[in-house]
Subunit: 271 residues, 2 copies
């Protein structure tokens, strides 16, 4: 599925670089700028510095003069704005709207209409070359200072409002792009977590924990910490602690080693 | 519930300002810096500029020399790291882990253990002054250049890994803080969307849509667009279009006005 981020009348070159980085880290690469303050913003030093390895996005980004030119191939347009506009599209929370949108666009019903999620970068591609009409989704972001104009919001199918603190809703532009890119990526199925090098350790069973406790009880009596005549619920307490810790087999082995060392020490001390 | 963001060995003053802004926009205010590169980072011009109204967080932030000093009152510590560490805590996706953590810490079982979510800023407070032991959650972020050290990761209960593109995982520090702050806020119940000034418009019922279609059919015949002898499924097509658009009562009124104008124009033309 084509996903485009459109910045309208952006003022700060640094923000454009940070936006490229925020997009790339979530696997998106289609950036369009409408009337940026600086015509050379994509080559400015500050933009390149903050893109930090996402300069390929800046190299491929387009600059256009009207929102119309930015919307080719896009069928669903989302505004981002703090304030709902009368006569504008419904104001919705990103998580709920994007989950619903992804479910709808990736559904078999959408495929049967001849639309297809065709961008391989999105991972969720369902190519159907014969009848492929690419679906396009665009996210619009207004200027740092004034946000989005009413006339641009009216063009949109939904107005995404990132829920912020009631007394401080001042989201940085690149931070807003980061959150929307993240939510859309999650809605599209997300990326996998990095694989751990180590194999997943096996949790010890309750029998192993019981064996550990018996060993420790013996050792704690030997070192004089547990008085069998007045046990003060020490063993049930340790049992609960070990239950919560859910030790692995290797950890049981370590803890039994500690008990063994306590017992050996007391045996040597008695000699 | 106390929520603390801890930056370890941060290099860039601008990032510290951006982090303060990212936290405040999600309603968090407890920031601690461990061994920042600049001792005066909280007063630096770049930090203040990028905090953009969140300078109260910088004014209240603490600078300490060890991670130990930063962890007072904190019972659950989350590392943030791209790479899982052998012998470290389990690497988990933020959304799943934070949802589970919030459910656990806000549960009646947690309250019965004498812990309580005591920070009124978090909105989800369940005060129990008699037996209140505040729950504290901390999120740790390593330096821009090297990320988190193994020894700091080992201290943690979980290692949050923000899922990023397989070929480009270079999240900016403030962007990472923004995503974690957002996810934790969502897990705690989130903030409400801004209220729309206009009352929610009522969707017209199917009878009103049928009335509109009858009116349009008459008008389209009158202006010569619809030939009753060869209707070519025009009305069923319009019916489907209007069904998808789910018009409000006011929009039905507008569309009937258009039909009325078409009919009046043809009547006048015939005179």
């Amino acid at each position: 599925m084509r996903t485009r981020f459109i910045l309208i009348e952006t003022s700060h070159a640094g923000n454009v670089g940070s936006v490229a980085r925020a997009m790339k880290v979530m696997g998106f690469d289609d950036l369009v700028l409408v009337r940026p303050r600086w015509a050379d913003v994509l080559q400015r030093e500050e933009a390149l510095a903050l893109a930090s390895g996402a300069d390929d996005l800046l190299a491929r980004a387009r600059i256009v003069q009207t929102l119309d030119e930015a919307l080719d191939g896009v069928s669903h347009v989302c505004a981002t704005a703090m304030t709902p506009r009368d006569f504008g599209p419904p104001t919705v929370a990103p998580r709920a709207h994007l989950a619903e949108l992804a479910a709808r666009l990736l559904s078999p019903a959408a495929a049967s209409l001849g639309v297809t999620a065709a961008d391989p970068a999105d991972g969720a591609a369902q190519p159907d070359p014969a009848s492929a009409v690419p679906i396009g989704v665009a996210f619009l972001f207004g200027s740092e200072r004034y946000g989005m104009k009413n006339e641009d919001v009216y063009r949109c199918h939904a107005c995404l409002s990132i829920p912020t603190a009631p007394d401080y809703g001042s989201l940085n532009l690149a931070a807003a792009v980061q959150l929307i890119a993240y939510e859309w990526r999650q809605a599209l199925g997300g990326f996998a977590l990095p694989a751990s090098g180590a194999p997943q350790p096996r949790a010890a069973d309750a029998q192993a924990v019981a064996g550990l406790l018996a060993h420790w009880e013996q050792a704690l009596v030997a070192v004089g910490f547990l008085d069998p005549a007045a046990p003060r619920k020490l063993m049930p307490r340790l049992n609960q602690l070990f239950n919560r810790a859910e030790p692995t087999e290797e950890e049981i082995h370590i803890l039994r080693g500690v008990a063994r060392a306590m017992l050996q020490t007391t045996t040597q001390a008695r000699r």
